[in-house]
Structure formats: C-alpha cells, structure tokens
C-alpha cells in the first residue's frame, strides 16, 4: 500500500526569469502515514510554508511530485480539487480568514464547497466544533465577537470540518496563552486518533514538537537537514544551534548537567522524561 502522502524530489522556484528569482525548496523527499504526527521545524525563511502549500496543491511544484495515496495531485483539475479537501491546511493566524455571519456558517464553508448534504454539513460542523472545544452556544454568534483564542479554534474547526486525511497546521499555537496551547495540542491529538489521520505541524517551539511529534523534519535553506524521531534529532544539539534552532529547554538543562559532571543521559526532551530520568538516577526512590 502506498503511503498516505508522499513527496518526491520537490523543488519550487519563485519568480523564474526575474531578478528576484529565488529557490525556496529543493529536492524534498518524505512520506507520511496514516496516524502519524510529524513536526516540521526550521528557521524563518527555510521553506516551511512553501513546502506545506505544495501538499494540498496551492502551489504547483517547479519540479517533483506530490502523491496522495499514490496518485499525483496535479494529474487533472478534479484530483487537485479533491486534494484540497483531503489535505486540510491551516495557515498562520487563521483567525484572520473568518468572514461569515455566524460561527456555524463559517465552519460550514469548507463542507459546503464539498457539496455535501445539509444533514452531513450539520453533523460535521458540530463534530468539528466539538474537537476544538467550541461550545454549542457560540455557534450562532458572530465570529468577530469572539476572543482571539476562540477565533483561532473556530478557524481550525473550519478545516477540520472537511475531515481531511492529512491535517497540516502552520504554527497553530502562535500567540495563544499556555492553557490555550495545551488545549489546542490535545485537540489535535484527539483528531489524529479518532480519524486515524496524519497531522503535520510546523512550529517554532521545540518543546511542542518534542512532546507531540512521532517524527521530526528539520528544514534548512530549503533542504531537509535532518529527519527522525525527536530523540534522534535533538541528540544533534550543536548542529541544530548552527541552523538557528535549538533543543527543548529540558534537554538544554540536561546537556549542561552532563557538562558539569553529573552522570545523566542528555537524550531527554520532555519534562516527564526528565522526571523519569532523575528518578532512576536517585535509585527509583524519593521525589525528583
């Protein structure tokens, strides 16, 4: 069975033939399976946004292919359109795209474009709202009367309502408070589990991707610099720093501890793991 989504030798050049010609990404290869949570990290301008806009056919590759279930999404117009629904893309600050009179109608925009029945649209809107913890009472309000965090949730629900097999989010937690962040990330996990979908998240927070992702892709100057589990990627702390990235704060602490002569394994990248590691060091007794 082919992978759910596969990227082959993807290249994109902006402004071909003008003085502003600029290669955004080159020779990108990766795959994503159902049920996977992939994190994409990279400094500003490393080509993350360009890459994710290829996955649902918003940008056409200059070279290379994007395969969805083994079919090239640019095969014909119909396939491209279907790819837009099957690969849901949530842009940065999606709350600025809200436009409808009510929250319900805004979430229903995607399903409506899919030409679903009235009943099915209703079911999906309610379900999507449930996924992102938008209470039913809010559905008849104007999206412009909501708080920033709620707007963000509604906008993400607008994409989730299309029930995409691949859900891609560009920095979904930027500008949210800690509680909002944690809640949103939980919602994404729930969606992935319930729909057995792939989730791809672009983030600048190493803690977030370390906590959430099964696999990390590190972009640097338009190329994949590293790929692997968070453990594998974060073991290259110095290389990441050279790329203008960093490792999670706990990993940083553990690296420093090791430097100071404390016998700890620095391959720790989430707080629970750190607690675990410290506990075992103390011989499994007492509190860390």
């Amino acid at each position: 069975m082919p992978p759910l989504i596969e990227v082959q030798e993807l290249c994109h050049v902006y402004g071909t033939g003008t003085p502003f010609q600029h290669t955004a990404i080159e020779h990108i290869n990766f795959t994503a399976q159902r049920g996977e949570f992939i994190g994409i990290i990279g400094h500003t301008g490393s080509g993350k946004s360009t890459l994710i806009q290829h996955l649902n056919g918003l940008l056409k590759p200059t070279f290379g292919k994007v395969l969805l279930d083994g079919t090239d999404i640019w095969k014909d117009k119909q396939t491209t359109r279907q790819a837009r629904f099957r690969v849901g893309l949530v842009f940065q600050y999606p709350e600025y795209q809200l436009f409808e009179e009510t929250v319900f109608r805004d979430i229903a925009f995607g399903p409506k474009n899919m030409k679903l029945s009235e009943q099915e649209i209703r079911r999906r809107v309610l379900e999507a709202a449930g996924f992102v913890d938008v209470p039913e009472g809010v559905l008849e309000k104007s999206p412009f009367d909501l708080s920033g965090g709620q707007k963000r949730r509604v906008a993400i629900a607008g994409v989730i309502a299309m029930e995409p097999d691949v859900l891609i989010l560009d920095e979904p937690t930027a500008g949210l408070d800690p509680e909002g962040r944690a809640g949103l990330l939980r919602n994404l996990q729930d969606y992935r589990k319930q729909k057995h979908a792939a989730v791809i998240m672009v983030s600048h927070s190493m803690e977030e991707v370390a906590m959430m992702a099964d696999r990390l892709i590190v972009l640097n100057h338009g190329k994949i610099a590293m790929e692997g589990t968070p453990q594998q990627v974060f073991s290259h702390a110095q290389e990441l720093k050279d790329m203008g990235l960093c490792v999670p704060q706990v990993t940083e602490i553990f690296l420093r501890l090791k430097e100071l002569g404390v016998d700890v394994d620095p391959c720790v990248y989430t707080v629970p793991q750190a607690v675990q590691a410290l506990r075992t060091r103390k011989g499994g007794s007492g509190r860390a």
Binding site: L58, G88, F91, Y96, Q97, L98, F109, V159
Partner: protein, 270 residues
Amino acid sequence: MLKDITLGQYFPGNTPIHRLDPRTKLILVIVYIVALFLAKGFVGYLVIICFLGTVMAMSKIRPKTALKGIKPLIFIIILTGILNIFYTKGSEETLLVDWWIFTIYKEGVMNAIFMVLRIFLLIAGTFMLTYTTSPIALTDGLERLLRPLKKIRVPVHELAMMMGIALRFIPTLIEETDKIMSAQKARGADFETGNLIQRAKALVPILVPLFVSAFRRAEELALAMECRCYHGGEGRTRMKQLHFHGGDFFAFGIGTALLAAMIVLRHFGL
C-alpha cells in the same frame, strides 16, 4: 499573480534621475504633460520621445519594465485608436477606405496614431516619476509644493499624510489578499469557475476578512501614531530636509527648453 502589479512601484537606484529633488520631478512631470499636449506633428512627438528616452536611459529603468506598467491599459489605448480611425471626418480627397458602414480618412489615421502615441507617452512619462521616486519622497515633495494652499485652509499636511499611508499599505494589502485567497482556496473556495454572479459571490470570503484586517490595521496605526505624539502638521519638522541642488536647476533648464521648443514647434504646426 497579484504580485505582478507594477502600478506606482518604485525601483530603487542611484542615478541622476533618482537623486533629483522630488519637487523638481513633480514639476517636470507637469511640464512634460503640458509639452506633450502642445505637440501637434511628428517633429513635436519626436522631441518628446527623445526626451523620455533620455530620461529612461539615465534612470537605468529597462524599457521592458516600463512597458509592463502600460500593459493593463493596452485595451483603452487600442480602443481610443480604433474610435479615432472611424470617427474622424475628412474631406473627399483624403478618403482612404469606404466600405459598407466604414469610412476611413487620412485624418482619422493620423489622429489615431497621435492619440495612441499621446496616451502612451503620457503614461510612460508619469510612470518614470513613480519608478524613480520613493513614495515617501513623493508625498514630501507634494506637501512642500502645495504648502501655499494652506493659506486658503486646504489641509495640505493631512492630505499628504493620507496619501503616504495609502501608498505604504498597497503592498501590504496585496500580500494580505494573496494570503486570504490561499486560505479560502484551502477550504475549497473556487474563484475561477461559474457565472458572473457566482464569481462575485465567491469574492465575499476574501473581501470581508480584507476589510476587517484593513480596519484593524488602521486602528493599530492610529494608536501607534498617537503613542508617538503625532498631532498633525503643526510645528512638525522633518528628518530629511528637501534642498535643490545643481542637478535640479539643470533639470529646470531642460524643462524650460523643452516647453519653449514645443511652443515654437506648435507655432510652425510641426
């Protein structure tokens, strides 16, 4: 695709034309337009073309870029040409074609050529101003030139500020439109198919967020300006004082010469 709009775009450079005082350039554009409308015959137009060509060469703006700006107006230019060909009446001797309802006179053809040439040169000439002058310098220059109007209570400073802000936000809004379009496309919005009404309706998901964000930006900008104690033009000094230099006086000389030449040529009907 939206990024291809070049209308009013500034191409940075450090040529004698770029270095001219914006006031000089504004005045010269007016002189140029007057001179252009004074042109009557081929010789007159030739002088104008030479003048524009020299300016263009000096500013190192490639003719291709200049033509790109004219592209959106090509339809109007062609239409003007066609109307002039058919609607100019001449005498019996100058009749060129007389077929069915179409009659073409020699005057018509001449008129059409001159008309097209005039619009073409008008646009290309004014574009030279925006290509070589940054929007900020342009509004500064305009404000200084219009300052005497303050005596009759024209809010010159406020107008210049508004113009500056408007120009400043064109690229931002274009970028924003692009972004919103992509986002709505990702939700399956379709802008390319359907009849006129469907297409107009398809614009709502773009226009509403665009207006909302424009208002939000306006509010934020107003707040930021107030935070920096902006209170209108009263007593406001500038960081960059405008001064005329040698080049500017030379340019004025050329402008005067051009105007004089055109008046003389017109007198002789050339």
